[in-house]
Amino acid sequence: MDRIPIEKKVLSENDRIAGRLRERLREHGILCVNLISSPGSGKTSLLERTLERFPKGTRVAVLTGDIQTDNDARRLARFGFPAKQITTGGTCHLDALRVERALADWPLENLDLLIIENVGNLICPSSYDLGEAAKIVMLRQTAEVSIYFR
């Protein structure tokens, strides 16, 4: 019986893909943000209010993650900017490969800003790098201040 030290991150494969994605986004000069919150905090509502304020022709696109439905993408597509749903089929977070696949048929040269709306969950999405420049965490005051900061 031999023991072989491995010493690498369990999610190193995700990190590798995220690194590749980050490089691609950087080459195209795209700012990518990863929006995270628990379910029902208002991520989609925030994005609706954001997109409706952008002037026509703003080079922004949204990827939105959900376990089951494409409701969010339909809500966000009303503003005339590209919006695509990533349906995870039961998985509680987005990972870098899913994002990369969703971006495969999008012309990145037409974008300045990519917003990724993660699956509503404050735990799992925090483990997965999606190649973003920054994560934005949204807290719903009435529910979460009392739970997370007591």
Binding site: D2, I4, P5, S12, H93, I123
Partner: protein, 114 residues
């Protein structure tokens, strides 16, 4: 759900390492799970046992080494393990300590036999 994804990533990594070493059978995989990693060891073990069942990797044991949260006190330079979410320095009492460990989600080792 999350732990199942992590279990699946561990199995993929084991498979990758096993392919580099033809002829050996991996019997055990050791992982380090930090207290702040967001991974529940019991759920991970369960997910792992479900995924490994009926595959060519069976029997494969998962050994989880839990890692406590660790803080460092810049005032007196003590590094300590955090118990019961008390982040204050146990030596000098400073409340301004820094997180230095506990977020691990690492593949530590494999045990193999020929």
């Amino acid at each position: 759900m999350h732990e199942l994804g992590i279990a699946s990533a561990i199995l993929d990594a084991v498979r990758g390492e096993a392919q580099k070493r033809p002829g050996v059978h991996v019997t055990k995989v050791g992982v380090r799970i930090g207290a702040l990693s967001g991974v529940e060891p019991e759920a991970l073990s369960f997910g792992f046992s479900v995924l490994v069942q009926g595959t060519d990797l069976e029997p494969l044991a998962l050994v989880i080494e839990p890692v406590p949260r660790r803080q460092r006190c810049p005032a007196c330079n003590l590094t300590f393990e955090v118990a019961e979410e008390n982040l204050a320095c146990p030596r000098c009492g400073s409340g301004e300590t820094l997180l230095v460990g506990g977020e691990e989600l690492d593949l530590a080792y494999l045990e193999v036999e020929d």
